[in-house]
Symmetry: D3
Subunit: 228 residues, 6 copies
């Protein structure tokens, strides 16, 4: 799938409005709304708690221990983008720190999602530039080998095309294909409306067993209650 | 050990007072007081820092990727309980989120300890409903296969019987068998009294080497000091 | 390399001033300034966010599940030291808790870096005694088998000699050999001066591509831009 | 659950005939016949391929890095037993090697299942003494701290009582409670008879879709076939 | 990317001849010939040593702990295919055993590559039906939830489209996109020709330093030789 | 500790005779004879079973994803050496394959111990060139960044100096410092003589409890036998 040594300058991005509205639901609801696809593996964790972002993906494919292409991708960032960085082989090095964050931020990036390590987390936290990474590591990287920018990438198990919507928060990260953003937003709205009412009933002490009418299917499946 | 497809309605719970008093000591002291048994493996981590809870266990055995039985166990919760959820096979999916937390809380549960994943951690934090889990994951679960409720379970390596006392905090989670709760509490009290005085002496600069009279046994074991 | 059953009382420590000044740069900058050597593997994590410390190493080699030597090393601590604890075999047990922290603190230690587990993290946080560890575990340890104090140790993959400088913060932990502390400090100063100016330019929107003059080497390496 | 410092001499063992006959089915079939309970986590692996054993459990609880109790359990072994060794905390050390294997074999043990490491694997292979372990490690252990013998243990996530049947082969390890051995054997026989015929049909090219009549439930669940 | 609940019946397969000839080179050479893309993460391991296969991919997306779709994919297998099974969430359960292997073999499949567990490895070895899996586990799966067949999948980090070429052996697994199979084969042929001659020179004692003319670039990069 | 960009040409090697004789004991016995130090972490595994080698270490420090220095170290190999390769950051890439093995073999190397990945394992097995590695991976490496040769390295947690003795077999890998080789050999001889007799006694049914006179210390430690 990957091509190495290429930079695609032209990215058809999902509408920013869709990305923004999807972000308001949070990653777990959006993942449900996609039909439970597009999850980044849960080993990616935010470097600080409480951030919630969404945006359009610009993608970059890195070589292990080499962050050269992060400088190349910086030029392709537009305001509202989230950089999604895959690595051709598992690596925890600190590909990203305060200088690149300063640059990404200046270009309008909202966040970085990287299947590698990052560093300078205190500074990034102060800058309020959120990063979801697989590790925090002081080890820097070299600039010696080409990767690619704005090719489809597999990042933490998720396939991401440039221009897709990415939503990230304390629960994790999810990708919504550009062409599915509108329909996913509709479903997220439906789901949320639905859940609001359920939450109120559950809070009042109603059981899910009754609210979801599970007693009959449970009995049918053979569930037995024992009182001894 | 496990039985599948059964719900035991009757649980002989440890006295709530014992659970409460044990909780005041924290998990590490209680683990010492049990004679160093009953530890949940340390890969279980709290979803937010600072929570300390104790309670009586209601147990549930889940299938991987399936949270049906969490709705079944909800009905068996009594105020003061902690739900302990085992999974028949390693799984990081988000079995538990804000709706179930709302329900568990309404039933009087104090916490969830789950050998699987959870999600909606920001909402759970706001609700002050603490969870100790092996992962945080946006991925939801199905409701298709039976497990059991209030059978003995192995959760993160710890054997838990319904009605046992569970203590959980930033350090981890420990289970005290119901029939050992009183004696464990006595020992925790002794230990704590003992430690208070030690802490003061150590703070004043006394060495553990002297306070615990270790110099002789160390020498006997062959320890050599070299001044060169 | 290791010798078991010995305590070296005499440690030639790096100058405290060098340790202090290195600490001000943080672990990532110091790691760069060493030429990217001396990293502790990133699985060591701080028990609470925001701590930054530096100091001179006193080292201790522990046996798995046994913290006897932590009492022995306490006597060798001088104000400004950081205790670096290696374990002869991977172990997540809670070797260190509030009593030892009280003692270490009374002796003037600034922190503990341990390739094992620790506990009582809430108390340690309240005490502001930072620990970098591989796990948090309620499980205590025995005092039965000898290790060593102030021998060279390998801790989380880093070789540490007694008296070396250790710098630790949210990004991780790095060791600077005693004899390299001064030159490393010089390099850290140069690097930092250099980065300050770069940061300002990047913040103004200048690209790393231009600032570092990467366009030519990238083209030479074969990077192609595609506009379709 | 655990008691430390005790040796139960009297074990009510499952009938040897049941253990032998269950062993003939292999671990996967027996696991199905138990209703899918009693699995040891799959991180336990045999030290050599091709061994298949079954027997009655004698259990031992070890401390990390300490194999003292393996000598104690040796005396409790009877011909036809399998030693099941749990460890109170995760440890990969080599608790077991050629000397203990010689002793266990002389006592009539058929195998060791250990939630820790072993060593001398070439010699154990030559002796045809199979071991399922979580690691192979040259690191030996001390003899300093008590555990227990013939108490219920949790080994690699499986609860094992002394006298239970253990079946182990290339696929893994399963425990059958003593009181369930006979009924599990009946079910294994049924299953096997059932599968023999199925295997022949599948080998002839019949599809599981048809043989198990899955087409209708799949359609009902919403499966769509697309020919474009 | 994924669609759930669909089966694509029509797959445009790479030419069988290309798959066969690529297979002869082995996975490492083919991975080089692709330009180092298409690797399955190395945690996938063969269940027995010595197998080398290649074929055209039919893909299946499974739910954790659920192998229903393996029966659905069986019908889509044509002689020369390799089944590539992704799972929507990390799971080590034994999705695949001797019955399915019998069926797959009867349909002409050459192998299974699965990002989950398998079982009955002794029987599969006897059948000479190779499997690359992330685990071996006795735990069976249910048949309750839909996945998909012949959609693009991410398996162990590799993106695979139906009809792509898959090559697998002791070194690992690689995917070659259908449209790149011919050019990759050419490159593999070139590479192999090139290496044959190199191997002979190296065997005669010529150094890579000289054969690849590395001395100058190494010196330029600053390598220093020290004779003290 | 590390220096980057240097090659030490002069290595004071342990006597070959000592390396050879130590090798005859195997890694576990040698590890005991060193006093239980010098172990490489057990995640290093041999690529095929049955190899046992010993030799004098030449060391190399690699960068992640970069095997340039393996060509540099080749020139420093003398007959009887074992190459010990550390990596500055965790990496599973295939740094080493059949071409380098051909070259190393031609230079007289007996084995490679690498804290990274290797590939072409079938060819290496046919060549009878054993490798202990942390992974098997088809992914090749670049030649872009300097490391060092014949500096002290930390490989899989073990500190190795050039010229030290390395012993490796199915149980793992151990390093004996050059200056300790002779005394370690003496201790290994003693240990082995000692064990031979013990093995015979254990085989005859004598218990370790009696042979090692453990009954009294066990009773003293509080072990209780229960006959109910």
């Amino acid at each position: 799938m990957y091509e190495l040594g290429v930079v695609y300058r032209k990215v058809e991005r999902a509408e920013q409005r869709l990305a923004d509205e999807l972000g308001a639901f949070g990653s777990a609801t959006v993942h449900e709304a996609t039909g439970r696809v597009g999850m980044f593996q849960p080993y990616l964790r935010p470097i600080y708690a409480g951030a919630r972002v969404s945006g359009t993906a610009v993608t970059v494919l890195l070589q292990p221990g080499d962050n050269w292409m992060l400088h190349v991708v910086a030029e392709q960032i537009r305001p509202g983008d989230i950089v999604v960085a895959a690595v051709t082989s598992a690596c925890t090095d600190g590909f990203f720190g305060d200088l690149l964050a300063t640059s990404f931020k200046a270009r309008g990036a909202r966040a970085l999602v990287i299947d590698g390590g990052c560093r300078d987390v205190k500074t990034l936290t102060d800058l309020e530039f959120p990063v979801w990474s697989r590790a925090i590591s002081i080890r820097g990287t070299v600039k010696a080998t080409l990767g690619s920018v704005n090719v489809p990438v597999v990042c933490a198990g998720a396939l991401v095309h440039p221009g897709d919507v990415v939503v990230a928060d304390d629960d994790g990260v999810v990708c919504v294909p550009r062409t599915r953003a509108a329909v996913t937003l509709d479903r997220a709205n439906e789901r949320e409306a639905n859940e609001r009412e359920k939450r109120a009933r559950l809070a009042s002490g109603v059981l899910g067993l009754d609210m979801y009418q599970m007693r009959e299917p449970l009995a049918k499946a053979g569930l037995r209650y024992i009182d001894g």
